[in-house]
């Protein structure tokens, strides 16, 4: 039972990171109908930048800020320089271009930093607090919850309470009408990509200290988990992706804890297959359809 409680908290902490990463995927999907397969590589690239600054200056938080800002910039540049010019007549094109970006980023990182694992420090202790002999949460887990929670609240406020958020939603759902009404649609897309990549960078900074460390391929498995989380949530729904992230996190944690860490990716694949075949619209889609 102690173990179950510990694994539950561990799973929620992982799930929060998956949720943030899935949220970044959903942001871009809703705006441009592209699943950004380069999201993982982009997050790793910004994490490398962040940890380089951290090790050069000795300040984790300066590196953290650099990673997020680099993420925002990288997202904007990707949209402005590459993605805007993709021919949307076939849905394959966006995916293939994103895969090209993955190769460029991973090859570039390998050339600059080498293909060995580098340590990724955590800003807080990862030793769990114990309550009555039961290990629960570490300071780092609390930091993860706080950071992801803050991002979710900020994004929700941005999209529902501000004029910019309204313009972004308008540009995503009815670009032509929005353009006629004076919305700068291209600018909104750039902003959307920047925000998504920034959130992805945050997720990268939160997940890398809990894995083996920095490596050009470090986010591959995380990306698959986050994609699964987004699909579980429906790919179109931000709250769904958060819930999906928590579900995937818990499953990964239980399977790693009880069956071994190597089984976890297989469990994620099984979950993805089951959801895609059973409810391609996401676990929460049917409930919505019935309320109409």
């Amino acid at each position: 039972m102690d173990r179950f409680v510990y694994l539950t908290f561990d799973g929620l902490s992982r799930g929060a990171v998956f949720a943030a990463f899935a949220l970044a995927l959903v942001l871009i999907w809703r705006a441009t109908r592209i699943v950004n397969f380069a999201q993982g590589a982009m997050a790793v690239a910004t994490a490398y930048a962040g940890f380089s600054v951290s090790s050069a200056t000795g300040s984790y938080w300066l590196g953290f800020a650099v990673a997020i800002v680099t993420g925002l910039a990288l997202g904007a540049v990707t949209e402005r320089v590459v993605m805007r010019f993709v021919d949307h007549s076939s849905h394959l094109n966006g995916v293939v271009v994103a895969l090209g970006l993955v190769l460029v980023i991973q090859g570039g990182l390998g050339m600059i930093y080498g293909n060995e694992y580098r340590p990724a420090a955590a800003p807080f202790s990862r030793d769990a607090f114990t309550v009555g002999g039961v290990a629960l949460l570490s300071r780092f887990d609390l930091f993860v919850f706080a950071a992801v929670g803050a991002v979710c609240v900020l994004l929700a406020l941005l999209f529902t309470r501000t004029a910019v958020g309204l313009r972004m939603r308008a540009a995503a759902f009815a670009p032509d009408v929005a353009r006629l009404l004076g919305v700068h649609v291209g600018g909104m897309l750039t902003l959307g990509w920047a925000l998504a990549a920034g959130v992805g960078s945050l997720a990268g900074m939160l997940v890398l200290p809990t894995e083996l460390g920095l490596h050009p391929n470090a986010m591959d498995v995380v990306f698959v988990s986050a994609f699964t989380a987004a699909v579980v949530g429906g790919l179109d729904s931000a709250p769904g992706s958060v819930a999906g992230g928590l579900v995937v996190g818990l499953i990964v944690s239980y399977v790693s804890g009880y069956l071994g860490a190597t089984v976890a990716p297989i469990a994620v694949l099984v979950l993805l297959v089951v959801v895609l075949l059973g409810r391609p619209g996401g676990l929460f889609s049917r409930g919505k359809a019935r309320t109409v």
Partner: protein
């Protein structure tokens, strides 16, 4: 009609004969290392040809063909090590990969675009996890050696490898050419271009998609087995995610519309790393090794997608469409 059918068939025969002659001449004259590279092109060609049928003619994107190759390679290795003769081991590799492809294809037929890409990506990522989980059979990260029968007398190992690889590649190309020329080829393209219209015309969309996936999986299985022949060992490190991405890149750059694109793609897969290697040879930087081709592949892929979506096999002036 009869004229149109007979003429290309004769042309195919001529091409096949020319291919056999060319390979024989090349393998008997080239130095061993070049012969080995030639063999690698042949092994890649099996996979890229299947992928061209799947992605180019049927419009399904698979990021999991590296994993299907691994299935073929591991099956081949296990059969060889159990003492099976070469042909049986090849057959087993193709059959088992076909079965695996049928399972993924059944799921794929219900999925579109990014969903399918994500699912096949998950399949590609799961390979090391499977070899570690069942390490009794697959020996985890170390992988398995392949106990190959020695080649017949007076034939060098490289020549033997090249003949096997190109034998497989030519048979694959021939069969695929015959398959996509007829009714099935038209159905593949009809489904790719407009599913609703295809269904109205009496084409079973799901059946066509599953079949396309099964066919390309069989090709990937053969390619994987040939890779086991070439490297004489199998390990998860030989089938990373980047291999699957390389394959997609090769068929996209080669050109998705026709099988000739697969040949270009296979050549590119061998030539680009070799080219990058010869460029970095003078420079004593370890990190460029392997990473430069990665970056080059990616840049080429993005450039081709933005400038000439038809690939090498269909270079023409790009059409600009205003939204």
């Amino acid at each position: 009609m009869a004229l149109r059918l007979t003429k290309p068939r004769r042309v195919t025969g001529v091409w096949a004969l020319a291919g056999v002659t060319l390979i024989l001449v090349l393998t008997l004259t080239l130095p061993p290392f070049r012969t080995y590279q030639l063999a690698t092109v042949g092994a890649y060609l099996c996979v890229t040809a299947g992928l061209t049928v799947l992605t180019g003619l049927n419009g399904q994107l698979s990021l999991g063909h590296g994993a299907l190759m691994a299935t073929g390679a591991y099956t081949f290795a296990l059969c060889c090590n159990a003492g099976w003769p070469l042909t049986l081991a090849f057959a087993a590799a193709v059959l088992l990969t076909t079965a695996a492809g049928a399972v993924i294809g059944l799921a794929a037929a219900r999925l579109r675009g990014p969903y399918l890409a994500g699912l096949t990506l998950a399949v590609a990522v799961v390979v090391p996890a499977i070899t570690s989980t069942f390490d009794g059979t697959f020996n985890s990260d170390q992988g398995l050696p392949v106990a190959l029968e020695p080649p017949p007398a007076t034939v060098t190992v490289e020549q033997w490898q090249a003949w096997l690889a190109w034998g497989g590649a030519l048979i694959t190309m021939l069969l695929l050419t015959l398959v996509i020329r007829g009714r099935f080829g038209r159905e593949l393209r009809a489904v790719r271009d407009d599913e609703t219209a295809a269904r109205l015309a009496g084409v079973s969309v799901a059946r066509t998609q599953v079949l396309a996936f099964v066919i390309s999986a069989a090709c990937a299985g053969l390619g994987g087995a040939l890779f086991a022949v070439l490297s004489q060992s199998v390990s998860p490190g030989a089938f990373p995610l980047s291999l699957s991405l390389f394959l997609v890149m090769a068929v996209v750059i080669g050109g998705l519309g026709r099988l000739a694109g697969a040949v270009w793609g296979a050549v590119l897969l061998v030539a680009l790393p070799a080219l990058a290697h010869s460029v970095t040879d003078g420079i004593e930087v370890q990190r460029l090794e392997g990473n430069l081709p990665l970056a080059l592949f990616g840049l080429t892929l993005v450039a081709v997608m933005l400038a000439a979506p038809g690939g090498i096999a269909a270079i023409r002036i790009p059409r600009r469409r205003k939204a």
